[in-house]
């Protein structure tokens, strides 16, 4: 954990202030979140809609963290992350349908691996591109995947989609909302541990090095293209796992489950939650799942509310939600008539 906090790249002010807390308090905050996540079903378990929303938040959490790995920690752009979820979802469905008695860990790894292969292939050309080109190319990917799923009927059943059986270990199956919730929670936690482990290692440093300066990374012996391909592969793996979870949650994968707008919301959540902030991404996921649940009944207005929220938040909090406590603090200080302090002092060159 200490090494992670050293490698932590640009984080929002919220995460920075969390990092400044004494270690004990920080652990306390993590433990508190963990306890809420674990005991939550004891209070809400009877309400299947709430449980569905909570599980959806976990799934989105993994999807958004996987995207943040790419965007925040690796400096790349993907507007087609839902395409990876689709591949993971279809892989999970096909594995569950065609291989009877497949243990769930193997299924999850299989869905992740299948997606990682596609991520590798997509990474090959995109490894050489940057900025807007990458944005548009990945956007094309996100649009193309559902189209392929729609047309490859022999494999995907076209628009009808594939019904996904509930996860199973041995002869035990987990069909209830609460069981699905815990299943997703366990997978999410394992993935987060893996992601933190990668980020704190030389591989994580190589990602950050390529993000911050490709020239210097090359001079330090990092193969920039190979590193980007590896980053895409890794991000795709975790997105594929999220797709697996999503498939079990929905019970169905179809081309319509992965609209382009889903990729956009993931991307917005990454930026609003704070680049290179895992906790910000998880917070973004919770907000996204709750807004979706709240607006699902008000037909037609959902995109207006979600899109409007993204626009307004960016205009007033361009550094993301994580910046909000800092902004509030500044406003409070101004209101009290004290002189605000800068979060990041401008470099001397800027001042001269």
């Amino acid at each position: 954990m200490s090494e992670l906090s050293l490698s932590a790249a640009r984080r929002g002010a919220l995460v920075k202030s969390i990092r400044k807390l004494p270690l004990g308090l920080r652990m306390l905050a993590i433990v508190a979140v963990a306890i809420v996540a674990i005991v939550f079903p004891a209070f809400e378990g009877s309400d299947s809609f709430v449980m569905y929303t909570a599980t959806q938040a976990l799934v989105y959490g993994l999807a958004i963290v996987s995207l943040n790995l790419l965007v925040g920690f690796g400096g790349q752009i993907s507007l087609g992350q839902a395409g990876f979820l689709a591949i993971g979802g279809y892989a999970a469905a096909l594995l569950a349908i065609h291989v009877s008695g497949l243990p769930i860990p193997i299924e999850v790894l299989g869905a992740g691996a299948a997606t990682a292969v596609i991520g590798f292939l997509l990474g090959l050309p995109t490894g050489r591109l940057r900025g807007h080109y990458l944005a548009i190319l990945t956007l094309g990917f996100g649009v193309a995947i559902p189209e392929i799923a729609l047309n490859w009927t022999s494999l995907t059943q076209g628009r009808t989609g594939l019904t996904v059986p509930p996860p199973r270990i041995g002869n035990t199956i987990f069909p209830t909302p609460t069981e699905l919730y815990y299943f997703s929670l366990v997978v999410l936690v394992i993935c987060l541990v893996a992601i933190f482990s990668i980020l704190a290692s030389s591989t994580g440093r190589a990602f950050a090095a390529v993000r911050d300066s490709e020239a210097a990374a090359t001079a330090m012996g990092i193969n920039v293209t190979a590193t980007k391909v590896l980053l895409f592969t890794t991000s795709a793996f975790f997105a594929g796992v999220a797709g697996d979870l999503d498939a079990h949650l929905q019970g169905l994968v179809s081309p319509d489950s992965f609209p382009f707008s889903l990729s956009l919301f993931f991307f917005a959540a990454v930026v609003l939650g704070g680049l290179a902030s895992v906790w910000g991404s998880l917070a973004g996921a919770v907000i996204l799942a709750v807004i979706e649940a709240e607006t699902s009944s008000s037909s037609g207005w959902e995109p207006v509310i979600l899109g409007g929220a993204v626009v307004l938040l960016l205009l007033f909090l361009p550094r993301g939600l994580a910046d909000f406590p800092y902004r509030a603090q500044q406003a409070l200080r101004r209101w009290r008539g004290r002189k605000p302090r800068a979060a990041v002092p401008p470099s001397r060159a800027e001042v001269s």
Binding site: A144, F267, P303
Partner: protein
């Protein structure tokens, strides 16, 4: 072989439409450095407005078109002057997300205001296909092709040979320096947003009769327009026009020989291939500079 060329010619009409959309994108990108992902939704709103002007206000087609262009320019100018200007110093990511948010917001609003049922507007020119050197082409397609080439050339001349163009290129290269030299950068950038939105609006008006006018009509066209802009080098006006025609022809050939459903996917594969060979597009160029 004759069939093949007939398909090529058949693709030019749509190619011109993609070219218009790509021109709008590239124009805005050149001066403001922003890829406006919301351009399709903005153009659709322009076309829906045109539909209302025709059907509710009962205006003649030409008058409605002119008025729609004015509204397009207001939408574009407003988007830059009120929204994008606030974040012009933010990271590229933030700008991308803002235009994406606008895309969702505007499409949603269009759905709420106009509904999702397809509507129809007439083509600028009707009439049966005419025979040109043994190939068939509709007057409307001829009109689109002529308009595209004309507008593309006009923009190119303005950009490369006039002082307004020089100022706009200077803004694209270094906005702060441009303003230090007395160039009114905000005016020019807002102007390019207005003009770029009008160009995308033309694309949407031209495509609506074939696709059916509805809020998400431009989603597909937008992907083709991005492809056209990329193939053309994203920053080259001539490249946008050529790229538009190339994509139009290629997608018509795919529809004819492969499958209509896989148009988007295969076009996507084509741009991946182009970018793999030439990361800056066919007309893109890398800066000559010395440390």
């Amino acid at each position: 072989m004759h069939n093949f060329f007939q398909f090529v010619i058949g693709g030019l009409g749509f190619g011109g439409i993609y070219a218009f959309a790509a021109l709008g994108l590239v124009l805005i990108f050149k001066t403001s450095g922003v890829v406006n992902f919301a351009f399709g939704a903005m153009a659709t709103v322009v076309t829906l407005t045109l539909w209302s002007l025709l059907n509710h206000a009962g205006l003649p087609f030409a008058a409605a078109w002119v008025l729609a262009m004015v509204i397009a320019m207001l939408i574009g100018g407003f988007t830059n002057g009120v929204l994008m200007r606030r974040i012009e110093r933010s990271a590229v990511l933030v700008q991308i997300v803002l235009t994406l948010g606008l895309l969702i917001l505007i499409e949603g609003l269009a759905g709420v205001l106009w509904g999702y049922g397809p509507k129809s507007i007439p083509q600028p020119l009707s009439g049966n296909p005419v025979n040109v050197a043994s190939f068939l082409i509709t007057p409307n397609d001829l009109f689109i092709i002529g308009l595209t080439v004309g507008v593309g050339l006009l923009l190119f001349v303005v950009f490369e040979w006039t002082r307004v163009g020089l100022a706009m290129r200077a803004i694209a290269a270094d906005r702060e320096v441009a303003s230090l030299m007395g160039i009114r950068t905000n005016l020019y950038v807002t102007g390019s947003w207005a003009l770029g939105t009008a160009l995308s609006g033309i694309a949407a008006i031209l495509v609506a009769p074939s696709l059916g006018l509805e809020p998400t009509m431009m989603d597909q066209v937008a992907v083709f327009a991005f492809a056209a802009a990329i193939v053309g080098g994203f920053g080259s006006l001539i490249g946008a026009v050529v790229g538009g025609f190339l994509i139009g022809v290629a997608s018509n050939l795919i529809a004819a020989y492969v499958s209509t459903n896989l148009q988007l996917t295969l076009i996507f594969a084509v741009i991946v291939a182009v970018l793999y060979v030439r990361p800056d597009g066919l007309f893109g160029r890398q800066a000559v500079s010395r440390q």
